[in-house]
Symmetry: C2
Subunit: 634 residues, 2 copies
């Protein structure tokens, strides 16, 4: 900054009436409805924002600070700040020739502070497309604060810019209206959640440590070497243990907007650090937590997104798998799964008949992609077949419905006539529909068709057939999950959720006899096919917890000694939930990626293209932590 | 939990009227003044808290959940929850013999849910010391939820327990009223800050990354190995770069309750992870930021802590050093520094005379510890002398004032009579006072006496002479710091604050000619002798920033390439501040240590005695990060 500008700023030459008004404005603001009358120019060098000027301000002397957006005919300059744009009119008299020259030729995105008088635009020149379009500001003083160099992309059309460039120059990307909107909405939604939790329901915001001890099975935890040789902290995946310990400690209504860490595959639109609304309560049951979350979301739901109807619908895990082939079904569209095992049992289609005969755990499932036939290209069908091969090592059977209920497809000529009719009826199939069938182990088959269902929707929407209304928000509780699932390698059971989840009270005895049959008190909240929250009632009995850790999960309970001891020390019954805030905001903002609701995200590949993190460190820099990078040979 | 209890809880057997009332209560709450009518029993199995019952509740059927605190005469049980205690009366009839037996003999800190009728205590038996002392609850149903084992310490007198034991069983420590109070107040103060910043002044709460690139000179940063061999993230010491980039990005009013990391000496009551209220604004000057912080603190100041008077007093750095020998003076007490160089120049005290002659930069400073002589023991004086030797490699000259202005001390017999009189007058010394003098380089001498001043106050307060009122909150802005200070090794200059701090606008030319003379636009906020906030107006001119990094600080500017480029891309003038939240809360809670305002702090030595973090990891666990622990030989 030039000394002159610095002095002007400091001496208040450029200061409008903002400072003198600060004190009364604050108290006024406090008395007004808070969200509508924020004093965004308090403590600032500006008197007004560019976006707020209206006809009612005509005649006022204002000070504005912002970025030069356009210049026109050496007469007009559009000035932008974070709240909008305003048209400046440059003086045309000789005395102000220098000012005109400066403003009319500044590179776009340069920063200026201007003083001037608000005036109504001449009749016929109002711009109805601009919220400030009735007025303009006749500039009387200008300070050029910071001249911009030529930029790698323009702020207006940054959405066409490739993402690497956007992330490399994130500070420019942030100026765009979309990110401005997303970050401000995120701040607002979180604040409303806090008001609901703290002010209305007496929750306590407690910060828990992020430098913690590695948890058993924490394969995706980042490690942090300490200065004590050989000892490491870990960055926790969630505050799970701490929130339970807070319950033992009598902080009976806890929440935290918690930063969590997971060193994982980023391809599925995840981030190594992410944020969850972490909640835990004592003396609560499952429905209590669910009700809290429903009302929390209702309270925090942004204006203009429609009202939420409570309670949210509920579905048991096994029904979700049966109907949608997914534990996070998108209920905005149909195309549900149909069990056609009985129909296919004597269908003439040998492969299906044999499947069902071989194993009573096998099933034949079908979905009807309504009117999909005209839209499905060969490459789309190949994509579906590839997915089936990948997930079940076999293809899908696809039948296209022709006029009169005739069928086309590899299976068509084998299928018996009664079976064909039964299929048509069961799936309510008509000309133009496409039936997709798969058979095999029940759960796997449902999972495959669940994925196929979503893929079909994606394909059809690419073709312009809208199945999922982006303005509809379908919440759904999924409940009654299994407590344990078989490990991938078949060597035993592992927790479906986490080892602290309580068994369903009706299934307590089964823990000791048939653990694989135990249902849990775990619940997920699904929004439009995304899991946006998950939680459970926790085990508060030390003996049950120890048994599950040691006898069912075969874990070393010693590292959880402190938790087991806490459960013995007067632990109340408790439960909680965590909302995935990044995902929720991405859905609310209709963003393609959670990267669009995070100020400084890492790239797909886990890098920060702006700063170059992560970066190489020298041996000397690593020395205090007693670690070194593995040599090639080691 | 037993199946029976689990069923009871789930079936709602134990549920009082809380659930059915939830919906209307919520809306009622929203309309009421928020802080006074929190619905802390919503969504819960309890109908009321133990602490809320009063005479007005008499006759109501209530469900309470809590911890057994005392039992008396098999008749009374005191039940505690996080909101208070209530007396339960056990039924004495035969039908309820089992219940009586259970409740009367449960180990303390066991968790129970009870149902019963609130009744007025018999006349004469009300307990005025208890807020619920007018009533008791006649128990009709009990569920023993969790039987506590014998605990390592009692909840009531945990303050006498050694800190290691408290930290090891933090979940018990948290049940104590002091930590309950501190954590709840912390949550409340932060919430009020958020309301002020977001709802009143339109600030945006933005989360910035904690996995970042190592910054130049970041010697105290934790490192986090990534899965790419040889590449590391760092946990940042503050969001400094991100908040400046947000300003470039048009998020012109940013704040965040930010987790920060510093791998440092914990002896000075610091923590490896700590929390700051991080604020940054565009188009603001120094006074604007100061005013924001003053009003923010006034708004968030807890009830019962007295009103804050604005504006806070201000003091220039050089005056603070001159008067208090500290850049964070505790102004609650006097004992200020006096420059007695002129008096001592011809005092007859050779060592001082020679000091002043040798170097015009030398000075003799003195403080008068009023009425300290009777309280100072030999060991106290030794402690002061040790400090002086440690800081300046020489002792203090100490003079005790005797009746008639006579002096006692090693220097007394050398001092000339006029000098003695001048000293008595300058320091307003009387019988019983103690004068402490030191000489040498000006700044060092002031710093020494600043430390001696505080040490004297500590000693005197140990002796029962109160100098610092714990109920007084003296805020003070310290301004006009030097921008650069000489490096310890004398090899050049380093930033007094950080390299992004803007020079004082009057001193801009000096940056290029006499950088050591440049004042900065850095400001600290001091509360009762603690720096609780620090900030600055930042450099927004890329050329000035580059010059300071490369030419003054001799740093490699390449690693800050992204920041320099951002400054060239239309960067607004901006500034900010960070409040040390842990320290502020410790002062507000009159806690000895910031550990008492943090839910799960690390110990003095940086450990978590509860979980055992940091812990050893195996080579296999480190393998994915391509690091290994240095072998002894390497």
């Amino acid at each position: 900054m030039s000394r002159f500008v610095a002095r002007c700023l400091l001496s208040g030459l450029l200061r409008g009436p903002a400072h003198p008004q600060t004190q009364p404005a604050r108290f006024l603001s406090l008395a007004r409805p808070v969200l509508s009358f924020k004093d965004v120019s308090s403590y600032s060098l500006r008197s007004h924002t560019c976006g707020e000027l209206r006809a009612v301000h005509a005649g006022e002397d204002v000070t504005l600070c912002g970025w030069v957006q356009f210049q026109r005919k050496q007469l007009f300059v559009t000035l932008r700040d974070s709240y909008g744009v305003i048209q400046l009119v440059l003086p045309q008299d000789k005395k102000h020739a220098d000012m005109k020259q400066t403003l009319a030729h500044l590179p776009p995105e340069s920063v200026v502070c201007v003083q001037g008088i608000v005036q109504l635009r001449p009749i016929g020149e109002a711009n109805k497309a601009m919220s400030t379009g009735d007025v303009e500001v006749a500039v009387s003083k200008v300070e050029m604060v910071n001249k911009s160099k030529s930029l790698p992309f323009q702020i207006r059309d940054f959405f066409q810019v490739n993402e690497h460039l956007r992330l490399k120059h994130r500070y420019l990307d942030l100026r765009g209206s979309q990110l401005q909107h997303n970050l401000r909405l995120r701040s607002q939604v979180i604040m409303k959640m806090r008001e609901f939790l703290i002010n209305v329901h007496g929750f306590v915001d407690v910060e828990t440590p992020t430098l913690f001890r590695r948890t058993p099975g924490g394969a995706r935890e980042f490690v942090v070497p300490s200065r004590e040789k050989g000892k490491f902290f870990c960055l926790p995946q969630s505050p799970q243990q701490f929130k339970q310990l807070l319950m033992v400690g009598g902080v009976d209504r806890y929440f935290q907007i918690a930063k969590c860490y997971r060193d994982e595959d980023l391809r599925q639109d995840r981030q190594p650090e992410f944020t969850q609304v972490d909640i835990e309560m004592s003396f609560v049951d499952q429905r209590g937590v669910e009700q809290l979350i429903e009302e929390l979301l209702q309270h925090a739901w942004p204006d203009g997104k429609g009202a939420l109807t409570l309670p949210f619908p509920r579905m048991q895990y096994k029904d979700a798998m049966k109907k949608y082939g997914s534990d996070k079904p998108d209920t905005r569209f149909g195309m549900k799964l149909n069990d056609v095992s009985d129909i296919m049992r004597s269908s003439g289609v040998t492969v299906f008949e044999r499947l069902l005969k071989d194993n009573s755990g096998n099933t034949i499932q079908a979905i009807n992609a309504k009117q999909a036939a005209p839209h499905m290209k060969n490459k789309d069908i190949e994509k579906l077949q590839d997915l089936a091969k990948q997930m079940m090592s076999k293809g899908l059977s696809i039948l296209q419905i022709l006029p009169g209920g005739e069928m086309k497809g590899a299976m068509a000529k084998h299928i018996s006539s009664p079976c064909r009719n039964a299929l048509l009826q069961e799936l309510q199939a008509e000309e133009g529909d496409m039936l997709l069938l798969a058979g095999g182990e029940h759960l796997k088959t449902c999972e495959l068709l669940g994925r196929i269902r979503v893929e079909c929707a994606d394909i059809l929407e690419t073709q312009g057939v809208q199945l999922r209304d982006p303005d509809v928000f379908n919440f759904l509780w999924i409940t009654d999950f299994p407590l344990f699932v078989p490990k991938e390698d078949g060597s035993g059971l592992e927790s479906a959720h986490h080892p602290f989840t309580a068994p369903h009270p009706d299934d307590l005895d089964l823990v000791y006899s048939h653990p694989h049959k135990v249902r849990s008190q775990h619940y997920d909240l699904v929004l439009n096919g995304n899991e946006i929250a998950g939680g459970s009632i926790r085990i508060h009995d030390a003996e049950v917890q120890r048994y599950i850790l040691e006898e069912v999960l075969k874990e070393d309970a010693a590292v959880l000694h402190h938790l087991l001891e806490a459960l013995q020390s007067g632990c109340p019954p408790h439960g909680g939930i965590a909302i995935g805030l990044d995902r929720l905001m991405a859905i609310l903002c209709k963003a393609d990626s959670i990267r669009d609701v995070i100020a400084f995200p890492k790239s797909h590949a886990g890098y920060d293209p702006m700063s170059g993190a992560p970066s190489q460190l020298t041996d000397a820099e690593l020395q205090p932590f007693h670690v070194r990078v593995q040599s090639e040979s080691s």
